[in-house]
């Protein structure tokens, strides 16, 4: 078919001009095929009913500049860190020797929809770099930071890092990911993670998305969790003009667990979307999801969460809660929970609420001398508590609290 006929034309043309690293070959072909066939989804697609990607399809993105920038980096929070600048992994700024992605061939493109969903296909077609973290069986790797920074000088670039995280049996890691960039630059960050959690392994993944106010953030995490393993994901969507964050997780062995929590802080004129897909494929697995969205000004929030329970997944214990707090009458929240259950012995619950700040609570705080702005901030933080409390690691929690306070200060200014 003529690849130039669909709305991903500009991306396809760029992909043709890219040099192909050895590791990317098969993945890129899958991505290009999917993209050429379907293009970027339009709002006619059910999964994109509430999130319009046409600004991304229409935008013109450039390649990263040849000269390597040396931007100011946030202070390290741990000993090990991998740093990406303008989409490229920078060994010179990192404190952890990265493994080449060519070593991850066995994983690339194999984890739960990681080549075929539109977000992942776009990444597969254009990925040029990424990280491969391989935690061997039994190793407790502690905290590892993954930092992505876009420099002002890079301009409106598009970058599509492909990250692979593999944990051997009984291994553990805490990954703290931060994404930042300049306001006023319409760049695209399109990261995709493939996460393989081995038997009895534990992966805690905290993501703090604070991209610039004109940026686009299209991201997906694909995780496969073996028996007795745990994958915890917390995603803070606090930046970007348009952010979509997908998680696709499969519980593949008995007694595996997955926690997906998140907070979306959406300022005036912005759009944030959290979409989850959780597949209970094995018996005796537990999943928990708590998402909280705070919407200010004229903004829009989306939560779509699907739980699929296969016939084999007896004694599944699933829970999903999604709540939104509207700080303005011009804000809008769209929520779509979905349960699809084929096993008969299953406990699965879900709920959703949308509301404004409670006037009685606000008055109570003010009557104790707390100024209105501070009282509002306290109530917003309290609203987020249930989701944020899922982050057990103190360093990650502190980073999250700072990001939430930062968002609020900007909001109140």
């Amino acid at each position: 078919m003529n690849a130039m006929s669909n709305n991903a034309e500009a991306f396809l043309r760029r992909a043709e001009a890219l040099a192909t690293p050895a590791w990317a070959g098969a993945l890129r072909r899958q991505g290009l095929d999917a993209l050429a066939k379907s293009g970027l989804p339009t709002r006619r697609a059910e999964a994109y009913k509430y999130t319009d990607l046409s600004p991304i399809a229409r935008a013109e993105f450039g390649a990263a500049p040849a000269a390597l920038a040396r931007p100011a980096l946030p202070a390290p929070r741990g000993r090990a860190r991998l740093v990406f600048v303008d989409g490229l992994l920078r060994a010179d700024l990192s404190t952890l020797p990265p493994r080449p992605l060519s070593d991850a061939a066995a994983v690339l493109g194999t984890v739960e929809n990681s080549a075929v969903t539109p977000v992942a296909a776009l990444n597969a077609a254009l990925a040029e770099d990424g990280m491969f973290l391989d935690i061997p069986a039994g190793e407790q790797a502690g905290l590892i930071e993954l930092v992505s920074i876009v420099t002002e000088a890079a301009g409106p670039i598009a970058f599509h890092p492909r990250h692979v995280l593999r944990l051997g049996q009984g291994a553990s890691v805490t990954l703290l990911e931060t994404c930042q960039g300049p306001d006023g630059v319409a760049y695209l960050h399109n990261p995709v993670f493939e996460v393989v959690v081995g038997e009895g392994a534990t992966c805690a993944h905290t993501r703090i998305q604070q991209e610039g106010g004109s940026a686009y953030f299209l991201s997906s995490v694909h995780a496969r969790i073996a028996a007795g393993g745990t994958y915890d994901n917390f995603t803070l969507n606090a930046g970007a003009k348009l952010a979509r964050n997908e998680i696709h997780a499969a519980l593949e062995g008995p007694k595996a667990a997955c926690h997906m929590n998140g907070a979306q802080l959406v300022g005036d004129g912005r759009h944030a979307d959290s979409t989850t897909f959780l597949h209970h494929a094995a018996p005796d697995c537990a999943s928990r999801q708590t998402y909280k969205t705070v919407l200010a000004g004229r903004s829009r929030g989306v939560f779509q969460g699907k739980i699929l329970v296969s016939q084999a997944a007896q004694r599944t214990d699933g829970y999903q809660m999604n709540q939104a707090l509207l700080l303005s009458e011009d804000a809008e929240m769209d929520a779509k929970p979905q349960l699809e259950i084929y096993a008969d012995d299953v406990k699965c619950s879900h709920g959703a609420t949308v509301g404004a700040l409670d006037e009685a609570q606000l008055f109570y705080l003010r009557s104790r001398g707390i100024p209105e702005k501070e009282a509002r901030a306290m109530l917003v933080q309290a609203f987020l508590t249930e989701a944020v409390d899922g982050v057990a690691d103190e360093t990650c929690r502190a980073a999250l609290d700072e990001a939430v306070m930062g968002w609020w200060r900007e909001m109140a200014a």
Binding site: F363, Y364, R366, S367, P371, E372, A382
Partner: protein
């Protein structure tokens, strides 16, 4: 200290206060008694600045300032404290954080230095001991899962920490058993002195056995219809509002 003159107020177009006059001098405890619907809670909310009430006339001066022109937080910093009839639950807000934030907000507005976490804890623990409050109430969410008595004790704890010059106690006795009533009353009595006044709003005389008022006012249909000494409360209890107010 507090002077209310000809105060009229309405909610949703319905007039509740209809020309209320009241003066509470420094150091005095006054009780306001009245039947349901007389305007007791409206008075406490109007004085503390809750939204939704429209002031249609009259004036309220507090320490010589126009109370009605102030935001609720300014009223608190000026020395006003409302002990709620139904204290609000704040899930996700720790009681210690709440109390320290409130105390420091008031100290800041008064130009006093803020307390750090250690200084605050020392102060709070002392006050809690006096009120027979278990220390774990500091760790819990504000009023979340508190019994009726615990909520009222938490109100008195806030009052003791914020050190107001005028406390309005809105039906503080409702839902309290006799032990809790005694603890709460002791908490209020401990604050009594030349710099502390209170407006005790109550339906029943019982509370006034523990917090003995200097003056008693009868509020009926949005107005003070009768004032007297503490014996007026007993008279009301014996004969009912209709007879006394007639």
């Amino acid at each position: 200290m507090l002077k209310i003159e000809g105060l009229t107020a309405e909610i949703d177009g319905k007039q509740i206060l209809k020309g209320l006059d009241l003066e509470v001098p420094a150091g005095e405890v006054h009780a306001i008694m009245g039947p349901n619907g007389a305007g007791k809670s409206t008075l406490s909310y109007v004085l503390s600045g809750r939204e939704g009430y429209e002031i249609t006339g009259g004036s309220v001066t507090f320490h010589g300032k126009d109370l009605l022109a102030m935001e609720p937080e300014e009223r608190a910093a000026t020395g006003l404290f409302l002990a709620f009839q139904y204290p609000v639950e704040l899930p996700g807000v720790g009681n210690a954080t709440f109390l320290r934030t409130a105390l420091n907000a008031i100290r800041r507005q008064r130009g006093e230095p803020e307390l750090d976490a250690m200084q605050f804890l020392k102060l709070a623990r002392g006050r809690m001991k006096e009120l027979s409050m278990p220390e774990d109430m500091l760790k819990r969410g504000v009023n979340v899962g508190f019994s009726g008595g615990e909520k009222k004790r938490n109100e008195v704890l806030q009052m003791a920490l914020l050190n107001p010059s005028l406390a309005i106690l809105d039906e503080t006795d409702s839902g309290l058993d006799i032990d809790a009533l005694k603890i709460v009353s002791d908490g209020v009595n401990a604050l009594r002195g030349p710099g502390f006044s209170a407006l005790v709003i109550t339906h029943y005389q019982r509370l006034l056995n523990y917090i003995v008022p200097d003056r008693v006012h009868v509020l009926v249909n949005g107005r003070i219809v009768k004032s007297g000494g503490k014996e007026l409360a007993l008279e009301l209890e014996a004969h009912g509002y209709a007879e006394v107010a007639a």
